[in-house]
Point group: C2
Chain length 401, copies 2
């Protein structure tokens, strides 16, 4: 009927089918499936075949896809697991934010770029993608390992630090962002997280008991969805990424084992539908515009190299107390910049002082680190589909029906 | 982060929570839950509290919501069930399309409206909402009754006839729509339906056997999703509503009982998330603009009355061979105009010859018939949550976990 609706449906079909084909191929090659999903997204996108173009509909599907991905990760996570290695996560996040920021800034300044551009390049390299990281942990069955907990905690913290850095960058466009506002954001974030963790222990178990009296369809699942959407909107409102709210909602529900298991099976059905859009949409963003001539390519290679080397070195160093092998895994796991890098790159278009070529370079760096990180991890770690803890195999059960 | 994303998340949260509250209240009142979902959508929308406004994001969620609703209905339907009463469905659809069209046209002409407006009013009254009808059958547990099969078959056929009427109306805006094109559309539609039904028996069982060898996550569910998106896009491409493709995709998969059952559980998880948006979004469309003064209200009442009386009389008459009670149920089930009426009303804004007040009247009629139809049905039929055929209780199993 309406033309837009046909185009939207066609792009959903192509992108979903492409992502699943990429996943299948990479599973068969023994490589991380998420890499295949990103690459096939690139293949059908404007960078290669151009069957589909980026669109608000695909961006929206990607956004709720990563929300469900983090919700699922939260469902499998007890806050205690994250807090046990809290000090390590904090060290990894802090060192892993400062090092790429300083080196990136220094590099751009040394290349003769202006101060705003130098700050942009630093900001671009700051934040690890929680979405990609969560997917890596899922693909490698490493959600319940010590290094998995450190990566997850550090990725959440560094996303918060990354958003603060982004706000500082945004002060070039709207001068109203001040230090006081940043501190207020930090206070809100801390308050929200503490509130969620307290309510989880106190109010949630009492409420759950009454859920079974509800007459509406799928009462438990529906309540989980209300919490998911509410926490995500609340996070975005106080200045965090929505996905952190989604992760908190998952952890909130995970308090009751029986509730978590029933919700897991259903969240898994939704995320099997939505997460491929998140991954393929990252590849879809790449167009080879500026990259065509040599200078752009060299700059991209240099910045990607810095992105990988600084994160790897800083995060491995900070997590050495876990042992050398685990420290290496933490460093590798923190490399991908994914959707966070893409968001920061997008901001560059609003700031006139930054050369437009840096948009393509930012996108390229975000995608390359998301591909190289998991591939390097794969060299150290064998992929493992079964969850490492028995009893959290909701997905497995559905798969084998 | 981006302002649009926060607003989108907030509206998803409000609309979903409102729809679930409406469902719960109407379940407790022993009334059709879909009526509660539409009414609560109205309550939070611009017609009342104005917490959220209609937006592309909500429209998109509603659209994929109704796609999953029809997919679910298709999963529970064997084509033979529909075809067994095919002759009755055809009679119900044809008489139920012609009568409201002629009476609506005559009424508007008698009121002194111009020829285009008269044709618009006729077209507005033509098509029953498949989405609302499918939801009614689900809520009343009537998917597997004889009158349920007649309603479903007739709703699908009359949607196709309604789209042809809409194309004829659209010829006032773009003069390129010709009778030859309409006939071509009919040929495509028939060809597509036959192709799907043939492949369902021949190719599908052979393909299914290989699905279990796939290594990608959730291979059966993913394949079902690829079919769903592909058939929906294909339907839209050849000029049918996308939801008819979704219904065909569901029937296609329902060929293999084991596949259908595993897919049903997962489709149910997705549609518990998405269908509330479809229902609440219908209520959200109502704003009381033109209705404020008396003339608009009287016209709305008259047109809604005609919409109800003509469908009820024509469809009951055509289905009399089923017996008087079932014939009454068919007539009542065909009353709701839902999303189809809203689409036709939207077209009026593109045609300058039609007074703008008819947009609000069209929306009002679509919403009122969607509320009154199920409420009248409820007077004749007790609600029944259990599916009437044992073994198709995927939803029930999930609910009781």
């Amino acid at each position: 009927m309406p033309q837009e609706s046909l185009q939207a449906l066609f792009s959903l079909f192509v992108v979903f089918a492409a992502a699943k084909v990429g996943e299948e191929i990479f599973e068969r090659l023994g490589q991380p499936p998420l890499v295949g999903q990103i690459l096939l997204g690139f293949l059908v996108g404007p960078g290669a075949l151009h069957w589909v173009a980026p669109s608000p509909v695909l961006d929206f599907m990607a956004e709720i896809g990563v929300i469900f991905l983090l919700f699922e990760t939260g469902l499998e996570t007890q806050p205690e697991e994250i807090l046990r290695y809290g000090y390590l996560s904090f060290a990894v996040a802090l060192l892993g934010v400062v090092t790429p920021f300083v080196v990136g800034w220094w590099f751009a300044a040394a290349m003769g770029e202006n101060a705003v551009t130098a700050q942009f390049v630093g900001t671009l390299l700051v934040a690890t993608s929680i979405g990609i990281t969560a997917k890596i942990l899922e693909d490698f069955g490493a959600t319940h390992t010590a290094f998995g907990h450190v990566i997850l905690g550090a990725a959440v913290l560094d996303d918060i630090l990354g958003l603060l850095a982004l706000s500082a960058l945004a002060s070039f466009t709207s001068p109203r962002v001040k230090v006081a506002n940043l501190l207020l954001t930090v206070a809100f974030v801390a308050g929200f997280v503490v509130l969620v963790l307290v309510l989880r222990r106190t109010a949630f178990p009492r409420v759950t008991r009454r859920l079974r009296d509800l007459r509406a369809r799928a009462p438990i699942w529906s309540t989980a969805l209300v919490l998911l959407l509410g926490f995500s909107a609340m996070s975005a409102y106080i200045g965090m990424a929505a996905i952190i709210g989604a992760f908190l909602a998952g952890m909130f529900v995970s308090e009751r084992r029986d509730v978590a298991e029933s919700v897991q099976a259903q969240a898994s059905a939704v995320s099997s539908f939505l997460v491929p859009f998140f991954l393929a949409n990252i590849g879809l963003r790449v167009s080879l515009g500026t990259m065509a001539h040599g200078h752009g390519l060299i700059l991209l290679a240099a910045i990607t190299g810095i992105a990988i080397a600084t994160k790897l070195a800083a995060c491995s160093l900070a997590s050495l107390p876990l042992g050398r092998r685990s420290a290496l895994l933490v460093g590798l796991g923190m490399i991908p910049r994914g959707e966070v890098g893409i968001v920061v790159a997008g901001q560059s278009l609003r700031i006139p002082a930054i050369p437009t070529s840096y948009y393509d370079i930012g996108i390229g760096m975000a995608v390359l680190t998301s591909l190289i990180g998991p591939l390097l991890l794969r060299l150290v770690l064998r992929p493992q589909r079964r969850p490492s803890v028995p009893g959290v195999s909701g997905r497995r059960v559905l798969r084998e029906r």
